[in-house]
């Protein structure tokens, strides 16, 4: 076979791989949109499930996901940003910094169900918070820390050093320079990081399985110590544990669609914010 033939075939195979990836995403979205869209209407989004969850909507699951994501944000956003500030603005190149970075990478690799175990042992049992929005939110918060930290650090790195030097040269302290010159500019980028982390948290099931998610509650959660319904958990039980699986399949598809749309909107907002931020800096 001539070299040219080899090149043509080789490139074709590579093109095929890329095409395969697009095809896979296409199939996933297509199937869910087609089968889920039929079920979605205002009723579906705003009413609670009825008749043993074979009818009605998924409103409590949407609210539950919202609540637990709020708690996640309250924990992981500040800590994530502060850690990123430390790493980019203050940290040296020594062993401690290496350890912190290694810890971040390893934390991002911990299986979600192990976070669930940790959440049960620490929050549900140890701190006696019981199965609740709080326990689940805190567990998810810890899980999303690496994402928030990494993305916030990226945002800080993009701020040119001249911003810092200029301010220091004028006599400001280090913290003053960071506060007035670096942070305001980096905020959009750091927001990107938070939102990406929250998008991930909103879609996670394993960490909330045993820390607070409930199969069915006839009322909305009243306090942070209540259990809650959640979109990913709702999809899971509709698909596997419901007592009339085939009948509720359309509801499952609808839930999957709402969940995907939610996650995509969050991801898109993060990407748009990041793109505008990059343009501004130019």
């Amino acid at each position: 076979m001539s070299r040219d033939m080899k090149e043509k075939i080789g490139f074709f195979v590579l093109k095929l791989s890329a095409f395969l990836v697009i095809l896979i995403l296409g199939i996933i979205l297509f199937d869910i949109v087609i089968k889920g869209a039929i079920v979605i209407d205002w009723q579906f989004l705003s009413t609670a499930p009825r008749k043993g969850m074979t009818e009605g909507g998924i409103f409590p699951a949407i609210i539950g996901t919202f609540y637990v994501t709020m708690i996640t944000a309250l924990l992981s956003t500040p800590i994530g940003i502060f850690t990123a500030i430390y790493l980019n603005e203050y940290a040296g190149k020594g062993l401690l910094t290496r350890f912190i970075r290694m810890a971040i990478r390893n934390l991002s690799g911990v299986p979600s169900i192990v976070f669930g175990l940790f959440g049960v042992a620490l929050f549900v049992q140890g701190m006696n918070l019981g199965t609740s929005i709080l326990s689940a939110g805190l567990t998810l918060g810890l899980m999303t820390l690496p994402v928030t930290i990494t993305a916030s650090e990226e945002a800080l790195k993009t701020v040119p050093d001249s911003y810092r030097q200029g301010s220091l040269a004028l006599g400001a302290t280090k913290w003053q320079s960071i506060r007035t010159n670096v942070l305001p500019v980096a905020v959009p980028g750091m927001m990107t990081g938070s939102i990406l982390g929250l998008a991930r948290a909103a879609g996670e099931t394993a960490p909330i399985l045993f820390t607070g998610a409930a199969f069915y509650l006839p009322f909305l959660p009243g306090t942070l110590f209540d259990q809650f319904m959640a979109l990913p958990y709702h999809l899971y039980i509709m698909a596997t544990q419901h007592h009339a699986i085939e009948r509720v399949r359309p509801i499952a598809y609808g839930t999957a669609l709402v969940l995907i749309v939610l996650v995509i909107i969050m991801n898109l907002s993060a990407i748009i914010i990041r793109a505008r931020f990059r343009n501004k800096l130019k």
Binding site: G222, H243, I245
Partner: protein, 301 residues
């Protein structure tokens, strides 16, 4: 300036959401949590919804398997545990160590059914044969007079009361490791419908449709105590009532201590004529006399 704007928006969102959380149950409604048996979940949900039509009480019913329900009762997380098996000694001990006093009562009778695909020619089996099948000792349908197909086993998982009951009553040994563990009765029914060589066990309520006929696509096998007795069907109420169907069993609920107030009211409803009609509606059978006595004793009615 932008930073101020950003932070104020964030704080606004946080305040709004936290206040929404407070809105949820402004009038501290009374609520009962029921959890456990997948076999019972349909029935109890139906009972709960019916009861809630004329009451302020909020009742939440979820599945997860009898084991899950019992664990939740022991951990003091639910008011009623649905269980299609009896609590083990160790579980009762565990509960008492946790200051929970399990009180048992029965809400219905089940004729645990052996189901196979409708194309399967095998019509009846003895209890011993069933045990051997699920232990993996008999593994081809031809050994039972059927076609030459390896038997495909489906069952529940270890959190299921039905799994435990079936194992202790019929197998008296461990399940074959090749048995596929499904998540609930509904998944089992779906699997049997699709698998010509399949066999499984489900609560009779799941094996029949709204008219109390066998669900399309599967067949209920008649069961005999041994080779010398006639095989009996779980579809006839008397067989379950008089105990001639070997796999008849009570469907339990467990609570902590003697019931009172709203909880007692709901339980009374479950045991009433109206409640028992719902039980029959769902394909199960009303409480047999011997178990009614147990109810009266345990609940102090």
């Amino acid at each position: 300036m932008k930073k101020v704007k950003f932070y104020s928006i964030v704080i606004l969102i946080v305040i709004i959401s936290l206040s929404l959380v407070g809105c949820g149950s402004g009038n501290q409604q009374k609520a009962i949590q029921i959890k456990g048996s997948d076999t019972e979940v349909n029935v109890v949900q139906h009972l709960a919804e019916s009861y809630m039509e004329s009451s302020d009480l909020k009742i939440s019913v979820t599945g997860g398997g009898s084991g899950t329900g019992i664990a939740a009762l022991i951990n003091n997380e639910v008011d009623i545990a649905n269980s299609s098996r009896d609590m083990k000694e160790s579980e009762i001990e565990n509960a008492e160590n946790n200051n929970i006093t399990p009180v048992r009562f029965i809400i219905a009778m089940d004729g645990l059914s052996i189901v196979v695909n409708e194309t399967n020619s095998v019509k009846e089996l003895t209890v011993e044969e069933i045990g051997k099948i699920f232990k993996g000792e008999i593994n081809n349908w031809s050994q039972l007079g059927g076609s030459d197909l390896p038997i495909s086993l489906y069952g529940r998982q270890s959190n299921s009361g039905t799994y435990i009951f079936f194992r202790d009553k019929v197998l008296k040994g461990d399940y074959s490791q090749d048995m596929k563990r499904m998540n609930g009765n509904a998944q089992i029914v779906e699997s049997i419908k699709a698998d010509k060589a399949g066999i499984s066990y489900v609560g009779v309520g799941y094996a029949v449709d709204e008219n109390n006929n066998e669900v399309d696509g599967l067949k209920i096998v008649n069961v005999a105590i041994d080779e010398n007795t006639t095989a009996v069907s779980p579809l006839k109420a008397e067989n379950v009532k008089n105990g001639s169907y070997p796999l008849a069993r009570p469907l339990n609920q467990y609570i902590d201590g003697k019931p009172e107030g709203a909880l007692l009211d709901f339980i009374k409803y479950e045991l009433s004529a109206e409640g028992q009609n719902i039980v029959v509606d769902e394909g199960f059978y009303p409480i047999s006399p011997e178990f009614q006595e147990i109810n009266e004793k345990n609940l102090g009615l």
